[in-house]
């Protein structure tokens, strides 16, 4: 009998199969609905290329769905998906080394476009402008730090993953993750001009 990991959810199921327990990984639509936007954000800001991020995100979800039987449930699905995404990004970057006509700027993230998605309800125009400024500022800073620093920073502060999960997703020791986080934070702090 198959055992289900902790990430299993009880779903309403039609035709008298109510309460059947299935994994989120078994339901491809649920998988996409739950994780794609978060993954897309992570990959977009990690690579700085929204078009590439779409491809990698789709690859990642498809890979996870096809390999769902190998998911042991040792980590959360989010951590597992993130680790697949990290590997796909690394694969891409290895091949990118051979691209002499790198066109990163042509498909770079449009920070103004991202900032325009700031919620407009319950805030004055001035507050919205400040928020947009903050988005643009942090996006700009994230772009300047190294790939590893950027990736762990996004995992920690955007995806709110804990250090053990980051360590697992990145495939690096926890102390290395700490070092990258320290450096990322230092860079952010110095560029924000805020000294603790």
């Amino acid at each position: 009998m198959r055992t289900y990991p902790s990430s299993c959810v009880a779903l309403e199921w039609p035709l008298g199969t109510e309460g059947r327990v299935i994994s989120e990984l078994d339901d491809i639509d649920l998988l996409v609905k739950t994780y794609r936007a978060r993954l897309l954000r992570f990959v977009t800001f990690s690579t700085g290329d929204p078009d590439l991020a779409e491809t990698i995100t789709q690859d990642c979800l498809l890979k996870a769905y096809n390999a769902r039987e190998s998911f042991r449930g040792d980590s959360s699905i989010n951590t597992w998906l993130t680790s697949i995404a990290v590997n796909l990004i690394r694969d891409h970057q290895r091949t990118q080394k051979f691209k002499f006509w790198k066109q990163a700027k042509a498909t770079a993230v449009d920070v103004t476009d991202v900032a325009s998605f700031i919620a407009t309800d319950h805030s004055s125009q001035e507050q919205q402008l400040i928020a947009k400024e903050q988005v643009a500022r942090l996006s700009g800073i994230i772009e300047t730090i190294s790939q590893n620093q950027r990736t762990v920073f996004l995992m920690k502060f955007s995806d709110e993953m804990d250090l053990a999960d980051i360590s697992e997703a990145m495939g690096m020791p926890i102390n290395t993750v700490k070092t990258h986080l320290h450096r990322a934070l230092k860079a952010v702090r110095s560029q924000l001009g805020a000294q603790p």
Binding site: I28, D29, V32, K33, R36, A37, R38, L40, R41, T44, F45, P50, E54, T55, I56, T57, Q58, D59, L61, L62, K63, Y65, D91, R94, T95, F98, D113, V114, A115, S116, F117, I118, A119, A131, K132, Q134, V135, R137, L138, S139, K156, F157, S158, D162, L163, K178, L181, H182, L185, K186, V188, R189, L192, A194, Q195, P196
Partner: protein, 187 residues
């Protein structure tokens, strides 16, 4: 921690790294204990924490809304998505080697073709040169060839040649033919 003069002078202020550890949620218990009693350190931390949290919160909110909107424009059926072929390092090198071979072959073929064209051009140039079809030269050459054949004929007609089984009559007939009709060396 660095020493300082305040009401908590028995302690020392937190370093930047220690404050970062607090922000990262990995601070040691003594750091947390220090923050509980040291107002300057708490103030330093609060300023940066507030600033950072405001930035991160705005970024997270906007970027998630942006990626949700973008995600909705992508096909939901990922089974239709064809996985991008994984380009491994050996595959890339094999591809590069194949390209180099193809380029070498193309260059070689191109050079051969160019050389062929050059030969043809040279031949054409030779043929079209004034000396190529010179009637006096032809006549002289024909005469010399005929003289050589006649000498061979006379040699073949000797008894020594008959000893070696060379047919005198046939050679004579050929000789007659050859002497009667001029050898056609060229058109």
């Amino acid at each position: 921690m660095t020493p300082h003069n305040s009401d908590v002078s028995h302690l020392s202020h937190l370093s930047e790294d220690e404050l970062d550890e607090v922000l990262l949620g990995i601070a040691a218990p003594e750091v947390s204990a220090h923050l509980a009693v040291c107002a300057p350190c708490t103030e330093r931390l609060t300023i940066f924490q507030t600033e950072l949290q405001a930035q991160i919160s705005a970024f997270n909110q906007a970027s998630l809304a942006w990626s949700e909107a973008r995600s909705n424009t992508i096909s939901r059926d990922i089974r239709q998505h064809k996985a991008t072929p994984r380009l491994t390092l050996p595959a890339v090198w094999s591809g590069a080697a194949a390209l180099v071979l193809a380029a070498t072959f193309a260059l070689h073929t191109s050079f051969q073709h160019a050389a062929g064209s050059l030969d043809a051009a040279n031949s054409a140039a030779t043929l079209s040169s004034p000396d190529a079809v010179h009637p006096e030269h032809d006549q002289h050459e024909l005469a010399s060839d005929n003289a050589m054949l006649a000498a061979i004929d006379s040699e073949m007609g000797t008894p020594q040649a008959a000893q070696f089984g060379i047919f005198q009559n046939t050679n004579a007939a050929i000789s007659t033919q050859q002497t009667d009709a001029p050898v056609q060396v060229r058109d």
